[in-house]
Subunit: 254 residues, 6 copies
């Protein structure tokens, strides 16, 4: 995939912050296909933007028919996300909740303030983000007793954030040392990655710390959901009924 000269990688990076590896792979595919369809030699900003839009928001495939049970589950999952984002003081406010399936992976989504509006995040704000991510699966668990594969992307992003707190931001009991998974050693080798430089014992301490952090935050999130279960159910039912709920309605319901 050759990039056209108008591509501003900084903008792309900003627009794709928070993307998982799979999301990026998806994005690259989309952009390549769009470029090929327009018979262009190089990917321009236009294709990249459209590809990002498709990947992030997905194509509003009304024709996709979820099983009734799946739809209920999605509603409770999103309601739990929205509830926790609404309740936690350090979480970004919710703009919209939807259970209209979009794109290949997203069966629903809760839209908060875009992440690129912020330049610094405090420890509490990071913790709140993790709690909002964990809320979906914990909500499912509270209502349906068993969880589903729908939690995968949330758990992955929550784990990544927790891992960054430990290895990049010095926000854990491992102290103010950073631990890089890969290193690029400079101009000469083109920045090619080398294997992790820290020891197995350190790797183990990082794993333990990440798990400890997530477990702590699950505890707190469960408490919130349990206390506000009525609100969550009201929101879930509303979602099943009207599919999309905006900030105003949300505030009334909770």
């Amino acid at each position: 995939m050759k990039l056209a000269s108008d591509v501003d990688l900084r903008k792309i990076a900003a627009m794709t912050s928070g993307f998982s590896g799979a999301d990026l792979a998806n994005l690259i595919n989309e952009a390549a296909l769009l470029t090929a369809r327009e018979n262009k030699d190089a990917v321009t900003m236009k294709e990249l933007s459209e590809a990002i839009e498709r990947v992030t928001a997905g194509l509003e495939k009304k024709q996709r028919v979820l099983q009734e049970e799946e739809r209920r589950r999605v509603a409770y999952h999103e309601a739990a996300h929205a509830l926790v984002a609404h309740v936690l003081p350090d979480a970004d406010p919710v703009h919209k909740v939807s259970i209209i399936p979009r794109g290949f992976a997203a069966l629903g989504y809760t839209m908060q303030r875009p992440e690129e509006d912020r330049f610094l995040l405090t420890r509490n704000e990071l913790c709140s983000r993790i709690q909002v991510l964990l809320a979906g699966t914990l909500g499912e668990e509270l209502v349906f007793e068993e969880i589903s594969t729908g939690a995968h992307n949330d758990l992955e992003r929550a784990t990544e954030l927790a891992r960054s707190m430990v290895t990049d931001y010095g926000m854990s009991r491992l102290g103010r040392v950073t631990y890089r998974q890969t290193t690029s050693s400079g101009l000469l080798d083109g920045g090619a990655g080398t294997p992790r430089e820290y020891s197995e014992k350190t790797a183990q301490m990082i794993d333990d710390e990440v798990k400890y952090l997530i477990d702590e935050l699950i505890e707190g999130t469960r408490k919130v959901l349990f206390e506000k279960k009525v609100g969550m159910e009201a929101l879930a039912k509303k979602l099943i009924e009207v599919e999309v709920v905006d900030a105003e309605t949300l505030a009334k319901l909770l």
Copy 2:
């Protein structure tokens, strides 16, 4: 292998969900050969679809002659798959069972509802899938006392599902943390994979958990097969006789 612009990778991904690495390698070979035979420059959706069909279902090679003993073994193997899929409440219903050899690897198959019809799978549904996969080899064991190499693909897929439950879906005692084997760190390195980021101790806990999960499910599956052995034998004998059994006949036999 250059891809034509009409190739929709999302569709391909949906059509090949559940494929093992070997299946994908096979698929690529098939598609490349088909494209070469038609003197095309790039693989189009047509070749990919045909290749998928060939790999999944295989070519109905009537001429392939199994040894009589092998054929009996295949019949019991498929009968066990079908029986467990029929009995477990969370397993997808069986449409057809066949012992007509198809393609290079498949000596028989049990057809259930296509996986792409579902968007979410609950923990119980995943467990049922694993049990259906394990049933083939456990059926062989019950009847012939020793197992065969025919179980390889089933065991591989069962292990993959169990591993995903542990590392991707937060469905084990390791908690709601995800563990990625490889990571792609973003646009800049083209998504190239890096070695696993978790520690050896964590790798060991994952292995133990996967083994524990499989062992538990084997227990349950063995019980089902033992209790319904008469039904399994009836189905196996029917298969040896008529080669293909549909849902209706299956229900009658069991």
Copy 3:
């Protein structure tokens, strides 16, 4: 090495089943040389077939002169293979034994039913194959007291089979879990391999299990050779005399 469109990789795979990595490297060299000699652009089925023939059977280099002592050793080595293959009920029958040196590596060979005739192998059949492979070096040991480098390829293939029983076929005390050395994660990365995903402790258990399996089978094979030493010696002497022994003569001698 570009492949011509008439190349059927399935057929190639079938014809090279049981090849070691070194055999395949040899095969690729041979095919490339043959293609170059015929000034072709791509390797066709013809060159591949001839290369396979050369590699498997080797070129009957009558001119290669083995030392007398080496020739005796080869005769006992092949006689031991043939004897064990003849005696074990689950081993494939022997068609021919030869000590005419063929190709670069093979100083002699024992020909059994081609492996591609079978689609399923039971645990006992796999064990018998390993025992036939081990027999050569154990026969040398019984007669000459020390073993030679001639056992290398046999030991490699025996180890591979034993390892497959443990990691692929669920036929060991490690249970019905598969352990993949490398994984290809799908279409997007072209199937590139990643490092093994299991833990060091699991790697150790696999090593122990493989060694245990081989040691057990050595025990049994030694017993067979010891009991039938007279037959082995008769066959070895016949081989030294006439170089090639067919199934009929073999049956008479044993």
Copy 4:
């Protein structure tokens, strides 16, 4: 990225000393974009210089609007850097402190004597550099009680310096032995890197030593900040007011 013949890599290396891997990746992107915009075939010294300028100093994006709370945090962060650089005898003198956001990552900066003016650094000088780097996050902690993601780059560079003291300069309890993460073994392999050559136990000792060094230096830095808190607050308030403070004003305030 092809380099023009006028590129003096030694100069580039001097101008980018202290760059992290991410900085270099950024630099390469910038240079590539600039070259593409001017339709040149190869990157010349001109583009590289401009790219370095952009990456180091950033583009003075007045339009970027930080949240008020973020701005306060940045002010205290930079004030702490400047204070510690001012106070420690072995630290380079401060020329300017600014909280005008520059470029993509830098929200503020403290300018000291350029690193390329020095050819040798003593152990004390290295320790002082680490302390100046750590000061930012410790200042945030002192005032706001929780730290932010703004510390990431500082912590990464501090960790790198500490690691170099241990593995490259023989300045730790591990003695006068060097420990290379990667090695290039000569002309023949083009200098390709190989995995680390030291043992896991050594890796662990390195990790422990780096952590010990950082912890020691945090202790000292905290003491400085605590004792001079009044000065730091005065400087921070001045920064919030006028955005840029020069060496003279700084000296007066502290």
Copy 5:
């Protein structure tokens, strides 16, 4: 380096058996240079043969002037090789000993029967080879009390042989299991190597076994050298005097 169609890789392999990795790298360089000098597109058998000759035997650089002390050391080193090769019953007979420096690395050599004349090597023969290799450095030690860097290539080849005995030929206490450092898994991946598949514990057992084997053989070799020290000294002095000693003279001296 493109290979001409007349290149017979089997022959090359036979001619370079026993080459170390560095020797092969040297060989490739030589062949590439020769090909370039003759303005050919591809390396033919002619260049390869000449390159092998150069690398193995070296260019008889009479002009290279060794220090007197170095020359004495080389003489004792080669005398020790020759003595042990002469004395051990399973070692190949010595044809010529020389201390005329040849090529870049070889300062002297002891010529035995070419290795490609043998197809099988017994355990005793391998042990004898290792003892001949070890003799050079042990002879130096006996006479000069400290050893030199001249032993490097001998030690490397001795270690490789010992390692092969353990990992390839089943000739150690680790039993009849093979342990491959790298594996090539087949046609599809072009035979690319994967990391070692055995566990750390096994790697440790292999290391211990290799060391045990070498230590045992050093013991025996030291005894031979000690008992025949007079002969070794006579041969060394003869070498210093006439530079080259043939089989006949050697037999007389010992």
Copy 6:
């Protein structure tokens, strides 16, 4: 970087013996730049020679102005190198000492007999080389109490020599076994390196042995420097005064 046919890699290797990986990277850059400036297609011996000269000796940049303190430190550093080289019986004699900065990295140098004049090095000679390398930093320590980053290259080369003594030359308590970091397995894979083949326990023993060797040699070197401190100071002062000291003056001063 394409090599012209007149390039004699053996000569290059001889001229760059003792180069670190970074030196070689530097060399390649220099050669590439020189070739580009002369608009040549391939690097000839001329450019390589000039590049080696530049890298080894550096460009005598008179304009580079070291801080006074740095200059004093360099003088004592070089004086210590020269002193130890002068005193140790097995070290090569000193020809010249200089503190005129040359090139990018070398702030001073002590010139001994070129390494390519020797073909064999004894254990004592290697130990003396390591001691000369260690002397620089130990001299700094003796005079200034703390060491500087100037020791990096010396420590790296000392560590490499010590490591070679352990892993390549059989000169440590690990015995006459070689331990290769990477292996190239032959013609077929083009000599590509594979990961280290020895176990973690062995890696640990190697690390311990290298450290032990360096620690022992530091002890001895410290004693020499302490006893001859007056001579070292005289030489250092002379160097500060006249910048370059030849062998004769050196002998007088010491």
